[in-house]
Amino acid sequence: MSIGDKIIVEINVKQKHIEGRKLFQELQLNVKQGEIISILGPSGCGKTTLLRMIADLETSEHEDVKITGVGNDEIGFIFQKPILYPHLNVGNNILLGLRNRVKTKQKHEIAEKELSSVNLSGYFNREVNSLSGGEAQRVILARALLAEPKLLLLDEPFSALDIDARRDIAQEVRNILKTRLVTSIHVTHDPKEAEIIADKVIYWNDICKLDNGSNNNK
């Protein structure tokens, strides 16, 4: 599937400070429908903060954050640390992403369908503690996708995995996101991962200004 021309999300942030340190002067980001953008930068430069600002998890009177084109309840977020709720099994964790009320039998089918889309068929009744890091991330992706977000934010989602697994799963995630045409912003410090997953890579330079530089169209 191809990327549309229509810009569906516009992000404009002026001045972001954390504990007195200025992270950036101004940041502008436009995301097209179905596009996957990867923001690449070293640890601690403010990538996570940027995603949290977009998701309205960070608020401050000193900053001017404008997000147009997407409402708060239309955003999906995959955190760096896999968050699966231990009191629920895999299937019921996925069903947290279900938007509409459906019958119990149908719920099971929906969760199974999502699980098979991330190559985890038959995992419905598994305890979340029994999953490997990669499996947990795939369950989280399935859950986020079930909610059909207009914009999906991925905060270094594979950082807990080893390099090989990270790159394999990055390719797998890209395929899924492209198949479903999910508009996404992904942040990482791994250039290879960014290159695998993204349509466009944006570099966060050392002086913490966002450099809308290179394109990495695939």
Binding site: L57, F77, Y85, L88, L96
Partner: protein, 584 residues
């Protein structure tokens, strides 16, 4: 030198022997007491149980007990949850001090709590000063009584407030550690899913599953402690009987052939009904606590590194109110020991006279120093017995779990909680009727009042030590053995060194609970001559108040008892691990 398997056999035998001895010590006096009461009344335990429900006096006491325990539990949860929430969710500079202050009520001797609330509702107390007269029930409270036809609403409100004060730390102790260790990302993640976009859906899908067992478990314990409350009922609602007070009052004349058979029947039937209700509550609590422990351990593993937000205005107001509520009754006890009424002018003045009189013991059967030394002897004796017993039983349960003998481990664990289902008064009556009335020569054994203390405090020792023993990695011991250390040194380095802090906590709390124990001591001491500080407070307060020094003297004795308990509690707090969700 013993071989490895011989050592194991020896350790196992010691453990089983200790379990058997403890259960015998707990159950045998009770069985003897039941036997004695059956023989005195001529009716079987089952008939007595059935007769209970046909006796109007017993049913009134049962209804009042259930009512006060249920309302106390509901109000405690309603007040305790916001405090736990604000304490756990915000970044407090002195959180350890806050936790300690809010936990103090639970270890405060019940008789001291009763004194604190009596002073709070006293005609010269702060509540009366702001126009709320709970004691004489005039003004607003009187109007409520007239309008609703509710008898003694003031006393009932005071009782509920005292139970809430006493039990609130249970809610905080269970709920706050889970809240404060939970990764905030869990909630943030749910906000991005359809199942967590509203407060109600987050409550249903996150907070209730995570906090539900902790809330239920602490609520059940609140119910149990309010159900078996004795000193507070005795002093705050003297016109009403609970099952506990009814048994205690009938206990003195029960178990004697040909004399007041009715009281023997009351004690027999009431103790059986109470035993059934409390046993069910304890079994349920143990089951839910296991669920809470497993959720808490998963939640603590997620332990958030993210900084909590600084407290906002609402949280500061809630904490200030909570801390004031925790401190006021205790401060009032101390102040009232110096505040003496002038009988001629009815005005109050400050003096140390009550302290010197209480110290010399001119107005009581014992002086403070004598009662203090009795209390300390009993609490040291209790410590010397309850701590090793609790440790050995905890080790036995943990070993059975390691050997995958979970069913047996569970039986031993539930059996070790039996004293909680018996209540202090029942244990006291068990010893009085079961042992002393069969063998009166035991009256000469001055250490008798320490026996119920041992029975009552051992379950607390087990509750504190068991999670710590479970968490010790056996490879430390194995490594020490492989390094060639002898069994004793291996045991010391591989096991005991990990238990130092929990042992100090368990020891300090054992001493604190023993010092403040009232129900069983009241039953036994009034039948003998071994006054403790808590009994001295009760004795002084029971005297007519013509002498204006009597009440301040009782408060002086209560202040000594309270101070000793606080020292022990703060020692325990210093060693307690942050984020511990044991509830004690």
């Amino acid at each position: 030198m013993l071989k490895e398997n011989q050592q194991r056999l020896l350790v196992n035998s010691i453990q089983w022997l200790t379990v058997t001895l403890f259960l015998t010590l707990t159950v045998l006096p009770l069985l003897y007491a039941i036997g004695r009461l059956e023989s005195v009344t001529g009716i079987s335990a089952i008939s007595a149980f059935i007769n209970f429900f046909g006796n109007q006096q017993s049913m009134t006491a049962l209804k009042f007990t259930l009512l006060e325990a249920t309302i106390s539990t509901i109000v405690t949860v309603i007040i305790g949850l916001p405090i736990a929430w604000y304490l756990g969710r915000y970044r407090w500079k002195n959180i350890r001090v806050f936790r300690a202050i809010l936990s103090v009520p639970f270890v405060t001797p019940s008789v001291v709590v009763a004194m604190g609330f009596l002073m709070l509702i006293d005609s010269s107390g702060p509540l009366n000063w702001i126009g709320i007269d709970l004691r004489l029930e005039s003004g607003v409270i009187g109007e409520i009584a007239n309008f609703t036809g509710w008898e003694n609403p003031g006393h009932f409100i005071a009782l509920i407030a005292a139970h809430v004060w006493f039990n609130i730390s249970l809610i905080i102790r269970f709920v706050e550690p889970t809240l404060s260790t939970m990764d905030r990302t869990w909630e943030e993640q749910l906000r991005f899913l359809p199942a967590g976009q509203s407060n109600i859906s987050r409550l249903r899908n996150l907070w209730l599953p995570i906090l539900g067992p902790a809330i239920l478990c602490s609520a059940l314990l609140c119910f149990i402690f309010s159900f078996t409350s004795f000193a507070l009922i005795r002093w705050l609602t003297p016109n009403q009987n609970t099952l506990e007070t009814m048994m205690a009052e009938s206990g003195g004349s029960a178990g004697i052939y040909g004399y007041r058979i009715d009281t023997s029947e009351i004690v027999l039937s009431t103790s059986l009904v109470q035993l059934v209700i409390l046993s069910l509550a304890i079994i349920l609590t143990t089951h839910i606590q296991k669920k809470h422990s497993s959720i808490h351990s998963i939640v603590s593993e997620s332990n958030s590194t993210k900084t909590k937000p600084p407290p906002n205005r609402t949280s500061i107001i809630v904490m200030l109110l909570a801390i004031s509520y925790a401190l006021i009754p205790m401060i009032l006890v101390a102040i009232s020991s110096f505040r003496i009424r002038n009988p001629e002018t009815n005005e109050y003045f400050f003096s140390t006279k009550a302290w010197s009189e209480a110290w010399s013991g001119d107005y009581s059967t014992t002086a403070i120093p004598e009662a203090l030394s009795n209390s300390i002897i009993y609490c040291l004796f209790t410590l010397a017995i309850a701590l090793p017993i609790g440790w050995i039983i905890s080790s036995c349960i943990a070993r059975l779990e390691r050997e995958n003998r979970n069913y047996t481990a569970r039986i031993v664990e539930i059996a070790s909680m039996i004293p909680l289902a018996l209540s202090a008064v029942m244990i006291g009556l068990g010893i009085l009727l079961g042992l002393l009335k069969w063998s009166p020569e035991l009256f000469n054994w001055s250490i008798i009042p320490a026996i119920p203390h041992i029975i009552i405090t051992t379950p607390f020792v087990i509750r504190i030590l068991l999670p710590a023993i479970r968490s010790i990695d056996p490879s430390y011991y194995e490594q020490a053995r492989l390094l060639g250390l002898n069994p004793l040194r291996s045991w010391w380095h591989g096991r005991v060194s990990f238990l130092k802090a929990p042992l100090v906590v368990a020891g300090a709390l054992t001493m604190a609970f023993s010092l403040g124990e009232f129900g069983a001591s009241w039953i036994l001491v009034r039948s003998g001559s071994w006054d403790t500080l808590s009994v001295l407070v009760d004795q002084l307060m029971s005297q007519p108040k013509f002498n204006p020094l009597i009440q301040p003297m009782a408060m002086a004795a209560a202040t000594v008892l309270m101070s000793l308990t606080f020292i022990l509690f703060f020692i325990a707090e210093k060693f307690r691990k942050t984020g511990e969700g044991s509830g004690f």
